[in-house]
């Protein structure tokens, strides 16, 4: 129980003090039990205030601090460092959010905002009174990484990881490396051949001794956790055991496969997917020929299997507009007299890919727009497809095109075997079956499983540059993690009271991270928490029938005292500033404006 607590309430330069009466609060808080010092400060996070806090802690021999300012997401680390520098444990500090939760949320009722802030600060004081000194959990980490999937993203990541001094195990399911990129001919914008590109990466991989490449290899079993994963890999029938510090998953994607008779698919060999069309361009030399007859008029139908408002693939696949237009330009360059008709919903050749759209317009490509509710209909006449569409650019007139070839522009979907990988590595998957990151903007390559990262199109549709970018972001994260050889983990994890535990297994059942396992101790089974995999989410604590499990920093006692602190009666006086605030309100009321306004 902490008895010398220091409380700092921040003005945030008016962000808080304009609505919450921080001066009055700091005076009231000074009378609370165990509070030795209570101050209101202009900017709690400023250097000068940090120095003052350290001075206070040392002079007044404080054993815990509470900072009432902004969200803990912003400054938890700042004030933990202050505590550390002043010589107290960083976990004897509690952040109370009176900006987002009080002044900003209740700016229309300043008095209530002040009352709420008072409650929250008292809850924080009670919580810090029960806080313990905790040490980070430090573990040894293997300087080895497993990269799953040797497509362009995986190969590129393996090379960089090796160059940074990690040993790399590159695991590829197929016999050949290179994945989808190796199936491509010329690529936009460099004009480089896809096959040549992946071959170059393969040569580089072979020249690096730190990379062990396994083809025809699949992940069989995964155990262990961050710093020490144990992988069983099946390499062409032989079992291989690996010990790695982190795993980068770059398993890629599948192309959407049109259903039978979707836009006439399967009815005639003159309806093909974009991938098949790319092969056709590569395989034909001077003239585009199908079934012994030349192809002149090509219809491209966009968004096949994508952007379905009712189907499983809700969104745009990002790469397909560019890929289709690039293919149509390639066909125009290679074969004389080929004319392209693009049946599209929206053209999304974003960024530099816009150049392709302009080029295709200069090639006299024709664009016809349809909507999802009125898609083109394809009828087969004598083996030739006839496309009927309501063209939204020609006042929704029904228009017919007698085509020689229909190319279905299909997008990316999650791999059909993505479930197997996610099951083994415990990576959460979304409704779209792609792997999920922690936060799409702020933590885009990390998964909720510590030490498991995702890169490339296994996360969602991406083009080649975007795939490589995300894989390299994963490389940077992994290298930062493994560089020291040791990993420090947050000590806020679940703890078991072995005497009270009866091992009913309920906690293990609800745990999303497989962190709880039974252990025999003094002749009975009790729950044991793997502190490395535990996230401290707290889901195990309420299900325990004998209250034998709790989270560090969130003991029952601590939580109950917080509730008591928040619920205690507050006597806040309406201050003068609030009066002014209210008068201002009535002054700007609409009815007060002169009539001629």
């Amino acid at each position: 129980m902490k008895q010398r607590i220091g409380v700092y309430i921040c003005h945030c330069g008016g962000n808080i003090s304009d609505y919450v009466d921080v001066e009055q609060l700091s005076k009231l808080i000074a009378n609370e039990d165990n509070v030795v010092i209570s101050k209101d400060v202009m900017f709690a996070c400023s250097d000068s205030n940090q120095k003052e806090m350290i001075q206070d802690i040392q002079e007044k021999q404080l054993d815990a601090i509470v900072v009432a300012s902004c969200s803990p997401k912003l400054h938890t680390h700042t004030f933990r460092n202050v505590a550390l520098r002043a010589g107290i444990n960083p976990y004897n500090y509690v952040q109370v959010n009176v900006r987002e939760q009080c002044s900003w949320a209740h700016s229309d009722t300043p008095l209530d905002a002040t009352v709420k802030a008072y409650g929250l600060i008292r809850a924080g004081i009670n919580r810090v009174a029960y806080s313990e000194a905790l040490e980070n959990i430090e573990i040894e980490a293997q300087k080895a990484v497993a990269v799953v999937g040797a497509g362009v993203a995986g190969m590129r990541a393996a090379i960089e990881l090796a160059r940074l001094g990690n040993s790399v195990y590159l695991i590829e399911k197929e016999e050949q490396v290179g994945g989808r990129v190796a199936q491509n001919g010329k690529l936009f914008m460099t004009g480089e051949d896809g096959k040549a590109l992946t071959q170059r990466l393969l040569n580089e991989i072979k020249s690096l001794s730190q990379i062990n490449l396994f083809t025809k290899a699949t992940l069989e079993k995964v155990s262990g956790s961050i710093g020490n994963f144990f992988l069983d890999v099946n390499v062409d029938g032989n079992l291989l055991k690996l010990n790695v510090g982190a795993v980068l998953v770059t398993t890629g994607f599948d192309f959407y496969q049109p259903a039978a008779n979707e836009y006439g698919f399967g009815q005639t060999q003159r309806v093909i997917t974009l991938q098949e069309f790319k092969q056709l361009i590569e395989n034909n030399t001077n003239e585009l020929i199908i079934d012994g007859r030349p192809v002149k008029n090509i219809a491209y139908i966009y968004c096949v299997g994508n952007r379905q408002s009712k189907g499983p693939n809700r969104y745009c696949s990002r790469f397909c507009c560019t890929a289709a237009i690039h293919s149509s330009i390639r066909a125009h360059e290679k074969f004389i007299g080929v004319k392209a008709f693009h049946f599209y919903r929206d053209i999304r050749t974003y960024g530099k890919q816009e150049i392709l759209y302009r080029q295709s317009s200069l090639n006299d490509d024709v664009y016809l727009k349809f909507e999802e509710k009125e898609p083109p209909v394809i009828e087969v006449d004598n083996g030739y497809p006839v496309v009927k569409v309501k063209d939204y650019l020609t006042s929704k007139k029904e228009i017919i095109l007698k085509a020689d070839l229909v190319v279905l522009v299909t997008g990316m979907v999650a791999r059909s075997d993505s479930g197997q990988v996610s099951e083994k590595l415990k990576i959460p998957i979304g409704n779209d079956k792609f792997f999920n990151e922690i936060h799409p903007k702020l933590r885009p390559v990390e998964t909720v499983i510590n030490g498991v990262y995702i890169g490339g199109a296994c996360q969602g549709p991406k083009n080649i540059s975007e795939s490589v970018q995300s894989a390299l972001a994963g490389v940077a994260k992994i290298n930062a993690l493994l560089k020291k050889g040791k990993i420090a983990l947050e000590p806020i994890v679940a703890r078991v009271n072995a005497e009270a535990c009866l091992w009913c297994g309920k906690c293990a059942e609800v745990c999303d991270y497989d962190a709880i396992k039974p252990l025999e101790m003094n002749g009975k089974m009790v729950a044991e928490v793997n502190v490395v995999t535990c996230k401290g989410c707290g889901i195990c604590a309420p299900v325990c029938p004998s209250d034998a499990i709790e989270i560090a920093e969130y003991s029952n006692q601590g939580i109950e005292s917080m509730i008591a602190g928040f619920a205690a009666k507050a006597e806040i006086k309406q201050s003068e500033t609030h009066h002014k605030e209210e008068i201002k309100h009535t002054q700007v009321g609409m009815k007060e404006y002169p009539e001629e306004w």
């Binding site: 006042s395 029904e398 228009i399 017919i400 095109l401 007698k402």
Partner: protein
Amino acid sequence: MPTINPNFANEIIKFGAKDFNLCFNCGNCTAICSLSTNDETFPRELIRYSTLGLEDELKSSLKPWLCYYCGECSTHCPRQANPGELMMSLRRWLTAQYDWTGLSGLLYKNLWAYILAMITVLGATIGLSYFSGYS
């Protein structure tokens, strides 16, 4: 139902149109046109018909004849698709369609035929004036 004619664009280009396929259907030309009304909208519609090669729609339309080629649409086209020039070319193409002799089509499309015709007209004028006694 109207069927796309993939060769029409090449035909109209012979009558002077160019780059009209750069059009991305923004409608700026129709918005800026002082003669286009809510009931009679052009030139975007005619660009669209020309792109798709809907000849029947073009032949039955009076809109090409409403245009007096002020050039506002071409000035304001964000894609330099030159709608004004297309309207002019459509009038030439229509004239050639009405003319059963095929002579006007020949004159519009073939520079040498045009020059030869001019020389003939000039020669005939000079010849006539000579024989009728003017000097």
